[in-house]
Symmetry: C2
Subunit: 351 residues, 2 copies
Amino acid sequence: MTFAPIAADKAVFNPLDPGESMPEATIRDVARRAQLSVATVSRVLNGFENVSEQARERVTEAVRDLGYVPHAGARSLSLARTNAIGVVLPDLHGEFFSEIVRGMDREASRRGYLLLLSNLHGSTEQAALALRAMHGRVDGLIVMAPTLSSRDLAAALPSRLPSVLINTRGVGTGHASIHLDNAAGVAAVVEHLASLGRRRLVHVAGPEGNMDADERAHAFQEACAARGLGCEILRGDFGQASGEQSVAELVASGREFDGLFAGNDNMAIGALQALQDAGKWVPTDVAVVGFDDIPLARHLGLTTVRVRIAELGERALVRLLAVMAKADGGGEELHAPELVIRNTTGEENGA
Amino acid sequence: MTFAPIAADKAVFNPLDPGESMPEATIRDVARRAQLSVATVSRVLNGFENVSEQARERVTEAVRDLGYVPHAGARSLSLARTNAIGVVLPDLHGEFFSEIVRGMDREASRRGYLLLLSNLHGSTEQAALALRAMHGRVDGLIVMAPTLSSRDLAAALPSRLPSVLINTRGVGTGHASIHLDNAAGVAAVVEHLASLGRRRLVHVAGPEGNMDADERAHAFQEACAARGLGCEILRGDFGQASGEQSVAELVASGREFDGLFAGNDNMAIGALQALQDAGKWVPTDVAVVGFDDIPLARHLGLTTVRVRIAELGERALVRLLAVMAKADGGGEELHAPELVIRNTTGEENGA
DNA sequence: ACGCGTCATGTAACCGGTTACATGACGCAC
DNA sequence: GTGCGTCATGTAACCGGTTACATGACGCGT
């Protein structure tokens, strides 16, 4: 426990009581205090074997005395490795956001990565800015940008940064990406409605330009056509209010329909409200189906398409790490959603 | 649009078709190509005025040709400023997580900051590790660690990094922090139940050691005592299942009660289920109140205490920036929640 | 005594930016 | 022509780590 007096080169200070104004201790301060070189300190800190026991102790002690904490940013720079993953998401409805982030976080923290979050609201230029800001701070990128055109995305994506796309128009073929199999989900919905004898279907779609909204609307049209069912498409914006309003207007117009498929659960809930207000019975008069299976859906007995959101995030992270390790050749991965049948298309329900 | 042939020092390449193996362009590459010094390039990139129009053009062109993107990590190192805020959260139930992150993100992106996310599951050592990993990557820290003791937190918190605590046991006095006024919320609940004539109250508390759970349980006890009400406390873990189970056991034991206050909405929902299964009527037999006001609560008609979660996150970020700018003297800020009265304590309801 | 290998340690370059300071060109007043 | 201020530009140090390579001590076989 003895050590020579230290030649403090700036000022005298008490190591156990870090003054507010004292600059952060660096590895060089530790080296000086331990009377060793920075190389040795670095070796101790990183657990190398070729260090004498004595040196190891002296370093450990100096670190403790100075309250030294390595500077992760500097470390990243010299290692060209940050241990962080950039996550760029659009403005998402609550449940979806937290679930997908939770899925990523679970895998990330298991493997010692941090998540650097950036939201993608606004224009294409802002998107480019957000993506650029990631360069040099992350080892890889997970991007979910359902409204970005594939051209804009290609322009904005730092070309040499490994990345995985989620529900995003691909950048050329072969880019590692994960997609929800919207077509399969929608096909299951339409088949289910048809099997219940519904013949005049209406779809309240999400906002135009949103990839998921467009895919679902398109698949709906296809599926109806394939079965010769009546089919109409309204536009909402994925918000509950828009579902309510669209359906209220539809009912007011007097057009007949017996099956309603909303682009997501939020809008389905709005639609249920509108139907109730209009005195329509669910499912007797109109069968209603949503998409996503948010927790509310279960409580409301809403038939819907279950998307395992957290799993999507988890897979994205796992694949990104594989891409980074050059162990993933790229390519699109489809996640098949699953139809969950509940009261709004099944047994009687007051709604 | 003319420029001299470039003496490429490594290999010949086509700048418009970045080869896979080509190393990232750095500011020095840009300087070389523009036939200027790195200083001038840096000045152009950062919008300094003292650069000739000609130099500005040459740099812009070189940047475009090389597809140069500044290395944010290197920039941070030399500026000692990262434009990122570290956010350390515990494992949170979905709605709470996404809301608080959304609130922070809204303010952060408005002010040009990114969010570096780290979850705080597990032991005290892991917590320390997570906090340390932030050093040198962020300009400030928002910490929510309701289970950490104030001693452990003090040890783990990088001392010279500005930070704001949310619902976390303070590190000494005067640390900038934001707290939910649990006592006020609980007092309102008990007063409400008392005003309905309920006399034998039960509280299903969150897990022991969790700051919010403990504060709510304690406030409940105080409030009941102050009014001379019967009062019993059960322990749950904030999960829906634990609420259901606790109440099922309570009912099975035959103890009488006419008012139930759950530590959060999740457990209140479980409790409603248990009461329904036991044939008890809500609110006739038992009035039920939750805490948080998650979206489900509204749909279920659950009386609860509304916490404006996103606002909490937003305020935390705003205060952190103030602390960083030395414009915030620290101190505790209480957010008063608001009682929302719905069917589970009001008009008749089938549940 | 010599040569050689092993091993702990140190020196200094490097990662990719920023910037204090030096430099040199130019215009202008005398 | 000289001196000075202004201004664009360049040089090199610096941020805080890592690490290739150099060094020198030591042990061992001959």
